[in-house]
């Protein structure tokens, strides 16, 4: 008989292994799905998971797509560790793009090497200010930061819409709601010619390393963890909860804002109403997929990006419906959550004994 048994302590091994198990299970389920759909299953899985890794173009696209996901998820992971829930990274992403983009448009006539750094600063400040609202309301009025940050996403989306319909609209654009294209010195330098791989990718790598050092080595990294794991103990130890709330919100706001600016000044090159495509929400998944660990988030972001790009490739090559991508992402999460049970529990084979008439609760106790 198969028994589920509680572990004495959570398994470190399983904590890191289950994401990979989830990926493999997703592939197997995918094979079954494609078989039922009457599509060549192996070819479909290959197209989604492996083909994007075989050309320079799709590899760069993978990096372009993963960049905002990783940046935002790293920012969010600090708060999530401390039990502070910033759900509104999408809004902070938009505000970063708006503020940085506004600088680019204000300096439309001006070229200069300092334009881009200025835009980055504006983007970071934009994201931070937007994140400061839920942080302040939480501290001052104990308002629920989940609701406040989430609601502010809609405000930011509409604000972007108002601006590109109004003051930031391209004067030569037939009244269509989009800004001018940013000029060259307001656009992120391209790393590899004829691709969209931009400087933001390098910055993201640096952020991953810094975040990793911070979490592992810095006292504040420890305080954040302590606040999440044992809030009362953290308070007794004299850690200021308010300070951590500010820190977490401002960090995630800054990184989300930077991601937004990178998106506007990189792949898109202008402000458009369709700029936000849900990275702020997908990044929440990436953060948990990566176990709130910077290196894990880096891998999780790449995996998530892979499913997007592979899904498109499968659409082009095999006319699979676009819902394939969503189904795969959904399955991945489902399997991750399902296999997470292995962290705290383990399976054990218990051979049927003759005296198995014994009441079940007792055997459970024994197992513990």
């Amino acid at each position: 008989m198969l028994k589920l048994e509680r572990r004495k302590e959570p398994s470190k091994f399983m904590l890191y292994v289950t994401p990979f198990v989830a990926v493999v299970l997703t592939m197997l389920a995918g094979l079954l799905l494609f078989l039922l759909l009457g599509k060549a299953p192996v070819q479909a899985i290959t197209l989604i998971y492996f083909t994007p890794l075989t050309s320079i173009f799709s590899l760069t696209e993978l990096a372009v797509k993963a960049t905002p996901l990783i940046l935002i998820a790293i920012g969010l992971s600090f708060g999530f560790r401390a039990g502070i829930w910033n759900i509104g990274a999408e809004g902070q992403f938009i505000m970063g793009a708006v503020c940085g983009g506004a600088v680019a448009l204000a300096l439309y006539e001006v070229q200069g090497i300092w334009v881009l750094p200025l835009m980055c600063v504006a983007g970071i400040i934009g994201g931070m200010l937007w994140a400061a609202i839920p942080a302040y309301l939480r501290i001052r009025f104990n308002a629920n930061e989940i609701l406040v940050s989430l609601m502010l996403v809609y405000v930011a989306t509409l604000l972007l819409s108002i601006l590109v319909h109004g003051v930031l609209r391209d004067p030569d654009g037939h009244n269509f709601p989009e800004s001018r294209l940013f000029h060259d010195s307001a656009t992120l330098p391209i790393l590899i010619e004829n691709t969209r791989a931009h400087l933001g990718i390098i910055v993201t790598l640096v952020v991953v390393v810094i975040a990793w050092v911070f979490v592992q080595r810095h006292i504040i990294g420890f305080q954040i963890k302590a606040l999440g794991d044992a809030p009362r103990a953290a308070k007794f130890a004299g850690f200021s909860e308010n300070r951590i709330i500010w820190l977490c919100f401002l960090t995630s706001g800054a990184l989300a804002g930077l991601a937004g600016l990178f998106e506007a000044a990189g792949p898109v090159g202008q402000l458009v109403p369709a700029l936000p495509v849900g990275y702020g929400f997908t990044a929440i998944i990436v953060a948990f997929l990566g176990r709130l660990n910077p290196i894990g988030i880096f891998l999780g972001g790449l995996l998530m990006a892979l499913t997007y790009i592979g899904g498109e490739g499968a659409q082009i090559a095999m006319s699979l419906p676009s819902a394939t991508t969503s189904v795969f992402q959904g399955m991945l999460l489902f399997f991750l959550l399902a296999t997470d049970i292995l962290i705290n529990f383990r399976f054990r084979w218990i051979s049927k004994k003759p005296d198995s008439l014994e009441p079940a609760p007792v055997s459970l106790q024994q197992a513990e």
């Binding site: 060549a40 372009v64 797509k65 498109e312 659409q315 419906p321």
Partner: protein
């Protein structure tokens, strides 16, 4: 027992892995045509209708063409990658079918000078990028006549998406059509800030019906408003494709986008080498916009009136925007007998006189 299950699992997995790999046969000199859709094909509106064009293309050329389509491509950062992937995969001509694909299309086109691009509803062209669009306003004027005649409450509801010229000219044309047959007609307009969101569209339709509107127009892509009109026993005008299936009693008519003939002619041009970058803006007269069969509610005299307008527009005898015409604020726009220029039309950002409410900016 568990052993047995284990065996089944292993065998199943092996069977899956061993499933035959369908290899792509080599195509000899086929023209590869790519399409990028903003919505799902199943929206029964905008993207659905483009897909009908793709199917027509297949019918016309048989195995001389190979078509590919990618649906649900957002107008943000993903569009450029999808277009580039299609170009890299060896497509000879690529149709990008939403306004937001304009700059991405141009960027990719620069990198692939030998691939031909066709962008729908935009205004920027280059040596290998054409633009094409339909004069939807012509159909809205005709539908406006039907709506103005059929409304008992003299209130017509309009579900609008974004305040861009395309949508604004549609509202104005529908109003002018309705006004031409019913001087008391009023328009109520709801902006939903989306092209496709059945939930929001249905909410807007309900709000309009609650405010007394008994004919609904929409400039969004799903049949949600049509369904609601059917439920509420009021009328509606189908958008982009014939929505009769969703409102057998409600639909007065529908404005059907007919992209097929254009796609056939452009792919043909790409095949025989006569393709050039062009700007096409065709309407009823060019068979790019069709008016669906009148609904059962529409009496013969109303149908006759609308058909006359339809035929006059097709022949060029009538233009929906002909002076005298004033803007909403009362300032002069067109002198008596003056016909609007295409340039003014494609940048239209004001309501004509008689429409209430403020145009969002």
């Amino acid at each position: 027992m568990k052993r047995l299950f284990g065996m089944i699992w292993v065998l199943g997995a092996l069977a899956l892995l061993a499933a035959p790999l369908v290899s792509t046969p080599a195509y000899a000199q086929k023209t590869k045509v790519g399409f990028v859709y903003v919505g799902p094909i199943g929206d029964h509106g905008w993207s659905y209708q483009h897909h009908q064009g793709l199917l027509e293309l297949k019918k016309a050329f048989g195995d001389k063409v190979e078509t590919t389509h990618v649906e649900n491509v957002s107008e943000g950062p993903d569009a450029e990658r999808v277009i580039q992937q299609l170009a890299q995969a060896g497509h000879n001509i690529i149709f990008t079918t939403s306004f937001g694909y304009m700059n991405p299309t141009l960027k990719v086109a620069k990198r692939f000078p030998n691939v031909k691009f066709e962008h729908s509803t935009g205004f920027k062209r280059s040596k290998n990028v054409s633009t094409y669009n339909i004069r939807f306003y012509e159909g809205r004027y005709v539908a406006g006549i039907v709506a103005g005649k059929m409304s008992k409450s003299n209130t017509i509801g309009y579900i609008a998406s974004f305040p861009i010229p395309e949508v604004v000219m549609g509202i104005n044309a529908a109003y002018l059509g309705a006004k031409s047959v019913n001087p008391d007609v009023k328009f109520k307009i709801v902006w939903v800030s989306t092209w496709f969101d059945p939930g929001k569209e249905a909410d807007a339709a309900k709000a309009l019906s609650d405010q007394g509107a008994d004919v609904l127009f929409q400039h969004t892509d799903s049949p949600a408003a049509m369904k609601l009109a059917e439920q509420k026993n009021i009328s509606a005008i189908g958008q982009a494709s014939d929505m009769k299936a969703f409102g057998p009693n409600a639909q007065l008519t529908a404005l059907v986008n007919n992209w097929g003939p254009y796609y056939v002619s452009r792919v043909k041009a790409a095949m025989d080498g006569s393709w050039k970058s062009t700007d096409t803006w065709g309407g009823i007269g060019q068979n790019m916009l069709n008016i669906a069969a009148w609904g059962s509610k529409v009496p013969a005299d109303v149908a006759k009136l609308a058909e006359k307008a339809r035929d006059d527009i097709a022949s060029g005898k009538l233009h929906p925007f002909t002076g005298p015409l004033k803007k909403q604020d009362g300032s002069d726009f067109l002198k008596a007998g003056e016909v609007i220029s295409d340039k003014d039309l494609s940048g239209m950002n004001f309501y004509v006189q008689g429409i209430d409410g403020k145009l969002p900016k």
